[in-house]
Each structure stands twice: as C-alpha cells, then as structure tokens.
Amino acid sequence: MASISQLMNTFSRISRPSVYRHKGWISHPQNFIKPCVSSVHYSSVLAELPETHEMLRKTCRDFAEAELQPMAGKFDKEGVFPKQQVKTMGELGLMALVVPEEYGGTGMDYLAYAIAMEEISRGCATAGVIMSVNNSLYMGPLLGFGSDKQKEEWITPFTTGERVGCFALSEPGNGSDAGAASTVGKEDGDSFILNGTKAWITNGYESEAAIVFATTDKAKKHKGISAFIVPKPTKGLSLGKKEDKLGIRGSSTCNLIFEDCEIPLANLLGSHGMGFKIAMMTLDSGRIGIASQAIGIAQAAFDCAIDYAGKRMAFNAPILKLQLIQQKIADMALRIESSRLLTYKAAVLKDEGKAYSKYAAMAKLAASETATFCGHQAIQILGGMGYVSDMPAERHYRDARITEIYEGTSEIQRLVIAANLIKEYQVL
C-alpha cells in the first residue's frame, strides 16, 4: 500500500512539464540528427510551425498537388511504381529527410519528416509509403547502427530517389511475433549464408538493398537475431509474386526468399544479436512516418468529402447544410487534428532526444484509426459517388486500411502504450 507521499510523488512526476532546452543535444544513439531550427518551441508547434517547416510544407504540398494527385488514380488502377515521381522526390530532398548532409541527406528533423509525409501521402498514399520505407525503415537502421563505411555505401546512393531500399522483418509465420524469426543466418568462412522467407516486404521489387533480420543464435531466442544488409539482386535471393493488395497498389509487396544466399561478413549491421533491438528502435521512429501517412490519407478523404458536400444539392440545399453531414465533418476534422498533434508531439520529443515510444505508438494508433474512419465517412458523405472510382474517396478508403496493420498492428500499439504506462505509474 503506497503512502500518500509516495502517491503524491508519482503524480507530480507525471504532471510536471518536460524541461525544455533551446539548443543542444544529448548524444544518444538515436540522435544522429542535428536540429534544423535553433529552437523548436513545443508550444509554438501547437499554434504555428516554424518558418523552415512551413516552407517545407509548401514545397511538399505544391509538388503533391501538381505531380502526385493527378496521377494517384492511375498508379492505383495500373499498380504502377511511380518511378519518375520518386526521382523528383529525391531531387527535392524527400527520400533522405533526416539523413545528415555529409551522407547526401537533407539534414532535417522528425517534425519536418512528419510534415512532409503527410503532404506527400495526401497527394498519393503509394508515394507516401515508398518514401516512408526508404526514410525510416531502410535508412533508420543504417543511420543508427551502421559504420561510416556502411553508411557511405548503403545510404548515400539511396538519397537521390533513383534507388530505394526495403526492410525485411516479417515472415509468413510471424508478424507481430517478431522475436520468433525463423530465417537463419550462418557464418561460413568469409560470408554469412541466409536461409528463409520474408513476407509482406514493401518496395520488394524495386529496392536495390534490404535490411534483413535473421536468427544467428537460436539458443538466445530474440537476443540471437542479427541484422544484415543484403544487396539486390543477389545470388540466392529470389522474389515471390507481387501481392494483389486492397490499397497502396502502386507499391510492390512481395516475399523475399533466401536460399543459401551469401552475403559478405562486412554486411552485418551492428553486432551479433543486436537485430531485435535494431528492429524495435527502427519501428518506433517508423511509426511517426506511418502516422503521418495515415493523416495525409485522412486529410485527402476529408478534403474530398467537404468539397463534395458543399456542392451536392439535396432537399433544395447543399448537403453541407444538413446537421448529420456537419456532424461527420466535425468528427473527421476532430480526429485528424488530434492525431496530427499527437504525431507532432512524438516527432518533437524524438527531435529533443527524449523518450517518445509511447507517443509514437499513440500517434500511429490514433492516426490509422482516423484514416479508416475518415475514409469510411467520406464514402458515406459521397453516397453512390463514393462507391465508384470516378471519385477518389474509394481509393482513400482502400489505402487507409493498411495503416492499422503494418509497422505494428493497432493491437501491438495498445500493448506498447500499456507497457509504457505500467512502467510510468509503477503500480505493478
């Protein structure tokens, strides 16, 4: 039974606002990013973005409206990888947003990444996921755990938009249960031999490199998983069929099949047994990207719905005048704004080198459920028109669905949040 004073201590620790520093960073393995503004005031991010971020948002929005939005329907219908657009995104600096300039990146922060992801995804969810996987899942592990040589070899050529990478953790036998990786890596002389199958790999077809997680010491269970950089194409690596997905149909998703695939010893990322930790840390920051993608999709659905509602006449007035439609609009906007603020919070905390896991999970959870809600309501507002491909609402509905699944299902996010809370409250 905790004493009153112990309880008071606990509550005051939680309710005290975080100490804010204007400049400077604690050196932390995750902090391979320099702040791109000399002071990011948390309070001002709530009200207004810093100037640089506002300029970045404008560039991304202009590009998305001019070059992604008009083509998004085509990419979806034809299942085509937007190669030209990804190249332009590279030229704009979007494919390596948080990578330091010395490796060819843009050197911006996670708040910038969140903003850019939202605007790009609002134009085309496929372009968003391609950008997210390259930035967070492929470059994340390399930035955090790669040697200088590995960074030069595997990051720099992938910053221009001409080449993309991918991340191979999930397997046919395990998604959420990442610790049960059955793909194995055996050291043999001057190379590692990989055997096994990875499933659901985004950018599977177009990527020219993959971060692959394989068990190198089965006895150590999840502490026996290591991470490897695998070039593509490479002998012993074949691709499964392209999955026929419900949404984000322009991005390729497939199995990576390793059959006695040999890779040099130098391609071990981090040290033996570090794989699980690398994967979990990477997914933490990837959540900010996916949360932003979900918000972009939700925003696109919302924009479509409110525009339509202002024009569609029924009962002698635009349907936007009807209260039940207004309720939907308000609910959609509320959820979008809430998810966005949570995402910004997670991004700013990460940029400040503070613990951000719980907020990243909250952001991803909130944003993905917002995306599916908005996709659903947008179709409802459009009625019959929402059900046909003449309007983008049905595509937003389909694109939104995956955000609740990949990079940690909504269920996993809830477990992450709860685990953090239990630790914070110290009640167990």
């Binding site: 100037e51 300029m55 404008k58 560039t59 590009f63 030229e91 600096g93 843009t106 910038a112």
Partner: protein, 254 residues
C-alpha cells in the same frame, strides 16, 4: 560578369484563397488568411536565378516591402536561389495603403544603392492588379523597360526581350541597365528543394525603412469602397443563332 539583379517580390493573399470583403468595406479580410509570394514575382525570381546559372548575372538580390511576415517571402526567394535579401519594413496598416509609386521609388533607390543593372519584377500583383511598378521604376531611373516579358536573352550589352502584347508577340532590344516585368509564360518556377530551404537560412536579409531610402510613403489616393462583384445570374438557353441575335437585341446588347 558583374551584373547585379534586383528582384521585387510581394507578399500577397494566396491565389487559392476565397477572398472576403471586410465588414467596413474598405478592403478584404487579411487576418489569419494564407499569404504567399505573388505568382508573377516567383516567375521573376526564377528568371533571375536562371540568368545567374547561365553566368549572365553575378548576384540576385530579392527585395520585399511589408511587415515582418514579408521575410517569409524573401526566404522563399532565397530558397529558390537568390543570394541575399532586403526587407523594407512597412507596418501592416501602412502596407494596405502602399502604392506602386512608393514601391517604384524604393526599388529605384535600391537599384542605385546596390548598383544593380537589371531590375526584374512580376508584371502585376494579384491583389491590386495595378501593373504599374515596373513602368514607374523605369521612369524614375530613366532606364528602358521591357514589360510582359515571355523570353529574355542577353546579347552583348543589351537584352533581347519577347513581349506578350495584344496583337501577339513583339521582340525588342533594351540596353542595360533596364527594368523588366515578368509575364506568365516566361518560365515555370522551380520548387524550393529542401536542401535549398536549409541553405536559405544562412543567407543574409538586410532590414531598412522607406525613410532610410528617403522615400515618403504618404498615400496619394484613398479607397472609398470595396464591394463584391454582382452575383452571377442564371443564363438562358436558345435554340439557334437567330434566336440568339433576337435575345441580344432584346436586352440591348446589340
């Protein structure tokens, strides 16, 4: 090449915003409304940067008159490739009444101060549509002007400019120094890439007031009323050309 070019860029209400007249009917609502660089000025900046890339021009200086927020416009110009900026501070209330004549005097003084040999501005601002600044600046400096430019080429010590005029296209030669105003088809402005946005933060923006340049910003005219255009009325459909002519005669149009 030692040519310096001065480019004027104005912060205006974004073109996509639905404008609303203020309750006092003396202007439009600007509070909390999205603003951005005048599209024709973006074209002007783009042209100046392209001239620099072709080594025709050595330095691009972006100028904007306005309140503190005008610096955002200058920063965008820097992110597009301008080398440095000059912010002529004009408080928001004064900005409402700032006229092309004032801006022309400011640009003329700056052109002299900076020893610029070329001044490029957008042909008109999308808020007041006066289409006067370039012409007046040339007049004050007594420089030749090439307005509504859709193509600029440097040849020896003059510019060959193709102008868009009512009758089509006109090609003229203008000796330097000169004032040029950019028209829509001059070029397509580049995106401010993220690396350039980051670089722009290090570029200098000099601040000054109109008084520092000896320019008096007392207004010469007064806006009496601003109203919405009349609401669009429904039209009528006619069966054939004869009926059309009859109807037009009925309403007194022909």
């Amino acid at each position: 090449m030692s040519l310096k070019v001065l480019v004027g860029c104005k912060r205006v209400i974004d073109y996509a915003v639905k404008i609303r007249v203020r309750p006092d009917k003396l202007g439009v609502v600007t509070d909390g409304i999205k603003h951005s660089m005048n599209p024709f000025d973006e074209i002007a900046i783009e042209e100046a940067v392209r001239l620099k890339e072709k080594n025709i021009v050595k330095e691009v200086i972006a100028v904007s008159c306005g309140p503190t927020q005008a610096q955002e416009t200058i920063r965008t110009a820097l992110a597009m490739g301008a080398d440095r900026g000059i912010h002529v501070e004009v408080p928001a209330k004064e900005m409402e009444k700032l006229e092309p004549l004032h801006v022309s005097k400011i640009l003329a003084k700056l052109a002299e101060k900076e020893q610029a040999e070329l001044v490029i501005v957008g042909k008109q601002a999308i808020d007041d549509d006066t289409n006067a600044t370039a012409q007046m600046t040339a007049g004050i400096l007594n420089w030749p002007q090439a307005t509504f430019a859709s193509k600029i080429e440097k040849k020896d010590d003059f510019l060959e400019v193709i102008r868009e005029i009512d009758g089509g296209l006109e090609t003229i030669k203008v000796k330097l120094p000169a004032v040029v105003s950019a028209d829509l088809r001059l070029n397509e402005p580049r995106y401010a890439t993220l690396p350039n946005i980051m670089k722009a933060k290090k570029k200098k923006i000099e601040k000054m007031k109109p008084a520092d340049l000896g320019v008096d910003t007392t207004p010469h005219f007064e806006v009496i009323e601003v109203t919405d255009p009349p609401a669009r009325e429904a039209g009528i459909k006619v069966e054939d050309v004869d009926t059309l002519l009859l109807k037009l005669k009925e309403v007194g149009r022909i």
